[in-house]
């Protein structure tokens, strides 16, 4: 589904992502983990077009997408949520749901803001997450957890093939996390592919079928959860080298 080949991104001499090649297989929930600053979000930003990679290739369903505008990449089928939600907080919940489905062109400039079938689709998704009663509320009036759910279902409006979730559980209460995990699982069983960055290890280990570990911008390990959990390189990246620990002791 998504393949990055040797992509690199440098910020002022620091390689945030260094010669990184990963594969996200169709139909799987892939987890992207690593310590803070290991390049996870930078990788996300390159895949979604916010940053241009300095080198390397990114392809989606066989088409090269590196260097395309974010809006183009979006319409090729990648949807994304954010660590801290980026909903349009002065718009209503319903409007936020509709934003992602439209392309803007000369012909459709003055067409109606909300069409019947879009509204129905949006309401169905809002029902699903139990927030349909807030359709006409401005987003800023909702709780952070509710906003996360809305961002999540707004992404589904345009039916993307690949969904990137940036810390879906960050700052969300445990009940909501359960709910979100169920939904991801459910969508995955219907064929959606996910790539998620998450610090909640229990969630990653339970939910993901494949895990990729980054450290200092490079891929240091990958595999099924049990393999990754016991990989010494991964433990070292997270906990520091055991040799150093011995030396200092």
């Amino acid at each position: 589904m998504l393949i990055t080949e040797n992509i690199t991104k440098t910020f002022g001499g620091i390689k945030a992502v260094d010669d990184c090649s990963i594969k996200v297989a169709q139909g799987l929930i892939t987890g992207l983990i690593g310590p803070n600053g290991s390049g996870k979000t930078t990788l996300f930003n390159m895949v979604t077009g916010l940053y241009k990679p300095d080198a390397g290739k990114i392809s989606l369903k066989g088409n090269q997408i590196q260097g395309l505008k974010p809006s183009k990449i979006y319409h090729q089928g990648i949807g994304r949520t954010f660590q801290i939600t980026r909903l349009f907080w002065k718009m209503t919940v319903l409007e936020n749901m509709i934003v992602p489905v439209r392309q803007i062109g000369w012909q459709t400039l003055l067409s109606r803001g909300v069409k019947k079938h879009e509204e129905e689709q949006a309401m169905e998704l809002l029902h699903w997450v139990g927030l349909s009663q807030y359709r006409d509320e401005e987003v800023r009036k909702l709780s952070f957890g509710q906003q996360k759910l809305i961002e999540f279902v707004a992404v589904l409006m345009s039916d993307p093939d690949l969904i990137l979730l940036d810390e879906p559980a960050g700052g969300v209460n445990p009940v909501m996390i359960e709910k979100m995990m169920e939904m991801v699982d459910d969508l995955n069983s219907k064929g959606k592919t996910f790539l998620l960055v998450e610090h909640n290890m229990r969630l990653v280990m339970e939910l993901c079928q494949h895990i990729i570990v980054l450290d200092h911008g490079q891929k240091i390990a990958e595999g099924v959860p049990s393999e990754v959990q016991n990989n010494p390189l991964v433990l070292e990246a997270y906990l520091g080298s055991t040799q150093n620990a011995n030396a200092s002791a």
Binding site: L50, P70, Y74, R86, F88, W89, V99, I104, S111, R112
Partner: protein, 295 residues
């Protein structure tokens, strides 16, 4: 300094309010452009004057009514705005910082060209109803100002409907609130910027036509008008259209009031004092929001 009688006071409110509506139209385009693109279009005043001159010429040579000529100038300015954003402003790096220079240059070039063609004689468009006025309960309502106010309100209403209920409008609002998120939600923000600039300039076209029947103008009056419209959007809060409306009405009334109570020459100064004091208390303007750059 003279204390006006009650009658004069109300009359002044009326005149100031009517012209304030026209100011509101002129400023709405400027604030809309800033909201979406973080670009201050310093050439806005020059485009107002250009609009006024086109209206003048259409009236002189084709006897087209200044209000009717809006139907011609608005689409033309819309197209021009689209091209300027597409082929000029979108090509500069860091538009937030450097666009002021580019649009200032545009203002000077326009002023120069207008000066070359029309010289510095002050002009005004004078249709047959120029000096007519309605009298209502002993208060005077000059026809040109009534027309100006009504037309301005109509166009602002149209702008509001576009922003609130259309595809383009929603994309513009989304881009104003968070351009990056808008991109990631599939909105082609450079396209939206072009349409926003086009919309903004077309309001300048209408504003120019209205200006031409209420005020006399020459090419260098553009500096006056950009100062006025900029102060309005700063007072109202950069990017806020309702804020611009309130500030425009305030400016209209204050100018008129000062010219009655003190003298005509003081009228701009009083408004600027008001602006300074407002900014000391509310740096973001009346209805503006403090802008934080998101990463």
């Amino acid at each position: 300094m003279t204390i006006p009688s009650f009658h004069l006071f109300v009359q002044t409110l009326i005149l100031g309010g009517l012209v304030g509506g026209v100011y509101a139209l002129m400023a709405s385009g400027l604030t809309l452009i800033f909201g979406v693109m973080r670009v201050i279009n310093v050439a806005h005043g020059a485009f107002l004057i250009l609009g006024a001159y086109i209206t003048y010429e259409l009236f002189q040579y084709f006897k087209i009514d200044p209000i009717a000529s809006i139907l011609i100038t608005m689409p033309v300015f819309f197209g021009a705005g689209w091209l300027i954003q597409r082929y000029m402003l979108s090509r500069i790096a860091n538009p937030e910082q450097t666009s002021v220079l580019v649009t200032f240059a545009l203002a000077l070039v326009l002023e120069g060209i207008l000066g070359f063609i029309f010289q510095t004689t002050a002009r005004m468009v004078t249709p047959s109803y120029t000096s007519d006025a309605f009298i209502f309960a002993t208060y005077r309502f000059p026809v040109t100002r009534l027309i100006g106010f009504g037309t301005a309100l109509l166009i602002i209403l149209l702008l509001y409907l576009i922003l609130q209920y259309t595809n383009l409008g929603r994309a513009i609002r989304a881009t104003t609130q968070d351009p990056r998120a808008a991109q990631l939600m599939g909105i082609n923000t450079s396209m939206i910027s072009a349409f926003t600039f086009a919309l903004g300039l077309s309001t300048a076209a209408a504003g120019g036509s209205l200006l031409s029947i209420i005020y006399s103008f020459n090419p260098s009056s553009q500096a006056d008008w950009i100062a006025r419209t900029l102060s309005i959007i700063v007072l109202g809060g950069m990017g806020s259209i309702p804020g611009a409306l309130i500030a425009a009405l305030t400016l209209g009334v204050m100018e008129q009031m000062t010219s009655i109570v003190v003298t005509l020459y003081w009228s701009p100064i009083v408004f600027y004092f008001f602006l300074f004091f407002t900014l000391i208390i509310r740096p973001q303007g009346l209805l503006g929001e403090i802008i934080r750059e998101k990463g």
